[in-house]
Amino acid sequence: MKFTGQVYKFGADIDTDAIIPARYLNTTDPAELAQHCMEDADPTFPARVKTGDIIVADKNFGCGSSREHAPIAIKGAGVACVIATSFARIFYRNSINIGLPILECDQAYQAINEGDQVEVDLESGQITSLITGDTWQAVPFPGFMQEIMAQGGLINYVRHKTDK
C-alpha cells in the first residue's frame, strides 16, 4: 500500500484526550468523532484536514486511554497514515486492529515539516519527501500485521481467514 499526502505535524506525548476528548465519547460514529479529531491539540485541525493527509508526530503518540475512538477519529477524518517517533502501546495495537496505517520513524519526524508532501510505502516502510526527495526507512510491520491493516482491521482479517 502506498499513500501520498500533506503533512500535519504534532509534538511529543500527544495523548488520547487530545486526539478525541472524553466529552465526545458518548458516540461511536466515526464521522461524528472525526469532527473533533485532535481538537485539544489543534482546534483548527478538524476543519483543515483532508482525505489522504498524513499526521507526523514525536514520541509516545496516543498515550493514555485505551479508547479505540482515537484511531477511529483519525481514520474517520480521512488521515491516510500516522508517522511518529514512537507510539504508545495500546494506540499502536488499536491502529492495527482498525486498519489505520502507522509507522515509527524518528528521522522522518525530525526532517519533515508541516505542509510537506510525503509518500509512504507501507510494505517496505519507506517514507519519501516529495519536496526534497529525501527518503527515510521505518521498520516495516511483521507480515500478519500488514495483512490486518490491508484487510482494514482485525475483524475483517479474522472473517477473511475463517471464510477461506
Partner: protein, 420 residues
C-alpha cells in the same frame, strides 16, 4: 535463562514452558472486561464477526461506570447497548447502576481478578490487577470483541523493568507518592511496551489498597502492565473473595531485566504532579500555595477504603475552604457502605464536601465535576492531560488523598502535616 513473573503468566496461558522477550504468542485469557464507552464499539465489532456466541459468559465482565449513572441521552443509549448485549448473551458479571462500582475497584473486590490470571480489559487502567499478581493489560474495543468471541488474544512478550523500594516509608507517604515519584523518574514513556515489576521491603509491607494504586498507574509510564509478586497480603485479600482456583507466580532469581532501579523512600515527601503530564512531579513542599478551585478524591486510583480513611482523618471536624468545591467518590457500593459505617461519609458531609455514587465521572471530564475555563483542580485521579477534567484551558494537579484532603481545607495545595 529465567523468566519474570509477567513472562511466566503469559507462557502458561500460551501453553508454553518458556518464552523470550520479543516473542509473539497467542494466549487464552481468563477475563475480558469492558465499560460503557469501550463496550459499544466492541459489541458492534463482535456482531460483525458473526460467531453468534461468546466464548464463556462467566468470564466476560461489563461495567457501565464512565458516564453512568447516564449523563445524557447519548450516554443512556450507549449504556442500553451494553445492557441489551449482557441480557442477550447471559453475561453473568454485568453490573447495573446500584451494584456498579468503578471497574478497577470492583473486580478485585468481587474476586473477579485473581493471582496468576491473564486479564485484558478495554480500559487502560486494567493494569491495576497486577497488584494481585495477575498479568493485566489494557486493550482496545476490537481486541475485546475478538476475545469475547474466541477467549484469546495475541501478545508480544514484554521485557521487564524492576523497581526496588527500600527504607522506612515516612508518614503521609503511600502508594500514590511512590508511583508518581517513579513516573517522574522514568517519564510517561519510560516503560513503553514493558512490564513494571514493583519489589522491595517497602512493597512487601504495603497494603493491598496502596498496591492497587501503584499498579493502576503503570500505564502512566507507558507500561504494558504493572505487577507485584503475590504474598501473604495478597492471599489475605483474595482468599475470601475467590470463587475459582488461582496460581501464584514469582520471578526466577535469574530472570533478566531491561533495567533495575532502586529508590530509598526514607526521605520522600508526598508527591504532586503538575499539568499537563503525570511525569511533571515535585515534592509537595515545592507545590505548596498553588490555589485550587476544586478537589476530587476517588477514582480507580484512589477510591478505596484506605484512601477515604486518610481523607476522613484530615477532614473530620474541619471545614472545606469556602471558595472551593470538594467532591468525593467511593469506588464501589461496598466501599461506600463501609465508609458510612465508619463515619467517613458523615465527616465529609459535615466538612462541606459532596459525596457521590461511584462513577469515573470527573476523572475523564465526563460529568459530576467538570472544570470551567481557567479553573484548577487537585485530584487523586491518574491523568492531568490538557482538558482532562473539562475545558481545554483548565488544569489538573495529581496527588494522594492526604494532600488532596489537606488542600481541601486551605484552598491551596498544602502538605498534610500542616493540617493534622
Amino acid at each position: 535463562m529465567g523468566m519474570t513473573i509477567s513472562q511466566k503468566i503469559l507462557a502458561y496461558h500460551a501453553g508454553k514452558k518458556h518464552v523470550e522477550a520479543g516473542e509473539l504468542v497467542n494466549c487464552r485469557v481468563d477475563v475480558v472486561l469492558g465499560n460503557d464507552i469501550t463496550s459499544p464499539v466492541a459489541i458492534e465489532e463482535f456482531a460483525r464477526l458473526g460467531t453468534g456466541e461468546v466464548f464463556d459468559r462467566d468470564r466476560i465482565v461489563l461495567v457501565p461506570d464512565h458516564f453512568a449513572p447516564n449523563k445524557d441521552i447519548k450516554s443512556a443509549e450507549q449504556a442500553k447497548v451494553v445492557r441489551s448485549f449482557a441480557r442477550q448473551y447471559g453475561i453473568k458479571n454485568y453490573f447495573e447502576v446500584g451494584q456498579m462500582g468503578i471497574e478497577h475497584c470492583l473486580l478485585p473486590e468481587q474476586g473477579l481478578a485473581l493471582p496468576g490470571d491473564l486479564i485484558i480489559g478495554a480500559d487502560s487502567h486494567t493494569c491495576t490487577y497486577g497488584a494481585l499478581g495477575a498479568f493485566a493489560t489494557g486493550v482496545g474495543s476490537t481486541d475485546m470483541a475478538a476475545a469475547m468471541a474466541t477467549g484469546e488474544a495475541w501478545f508480544k512478550i514484554p521485557e521487564s523493568l524492576k523497581f526496588i523500594y527500600y527504607g522506612q516509608l515516612p508518614r503521609w507517604v503511600g502508594g500514590k507518592d511512590l508511583i508518581l515519584h517513579t513516573i517522574g523518574d522514568i517519564g510517561v514513556d519510560g516503560a513503553r511496551y514493558m512490564s513494571m515489576e514493583f519489589t522491595g521491603e517497602v512493597i512487601q509491607n504495603l497494603s493491598m489498597d496502596n498496591r492497587l494504586t501503584m499498579a493502576n498507574m503503570a500505564i502512566e509510564a507507558g507500561g504494558k502492565n504493572g505487577i507485584i509478586e503475590p504474598d501473604d497480603i495478597t492471599l489475605a485479600y483474595v482468599k475470601e473473595r475467590a470463587q475459582r482456583s488461582y496460581n501464584l507466580y514469582k520471578s526466577d532469581p535469574d530472570a533478566v531485566y531491561a533495567e533495575i532501579r532502586e529508590y530509598d523512600v526514607s526521605k520522600m515527601e508526598p508527591v504532586v504532579a503538575f499539568p499537563h503530564l503525570p511525569e511533571n512531579t515535585r515534592p509537595v513542599s515545592e507545590a505548596a500555595g498553588v490555589n485550587i478551585d476544586q478537589v476530587v478524591i476517588g477514582s480507580c486510583t484512589n477510591g478505596r477504603v484506605e484512601d477515604l480513611e486518610i481523607a476522613a482523618s484530615l477532614l473530620k471536624g474541619k471545614k472545606v475552604h469556602p471558595e472551593i468545591r470538594v467532591i468525593i467518590f467511593p469506588g464501589t457500593q461496598q466501599i461506600y457502605l463501609e465508609a458510612m459505617r465508619r463515619g467517613y461519609v458523615e465527616a465529609f458531609i459535615e466538612a462541606g464536601a459532596a459525596v457521590s455514587t461511584p462513577t469515573c465521572g470527573p476523572c475523564l471530564g465526563g460529568h459530576m465535576g467538570i472544570l470551567a475555563k481557567g479553573e484548577r483542580a487537585l485530584a487523586t485521579t491518574n491523568r492531568n492531560f490538557v482538558g482532562r477534567m473539562g475545558h481545554p484551558e483548565s488544569e489538573v494537579y495529581l496527588s494522594s488523598p492526604a494532600v488532596a484532603a489537606a488542600s481541601a481545607i486551605t484552598g491551596k495545595i498544602t502538605p498534610p502535616w500542616e493540617i493534622a
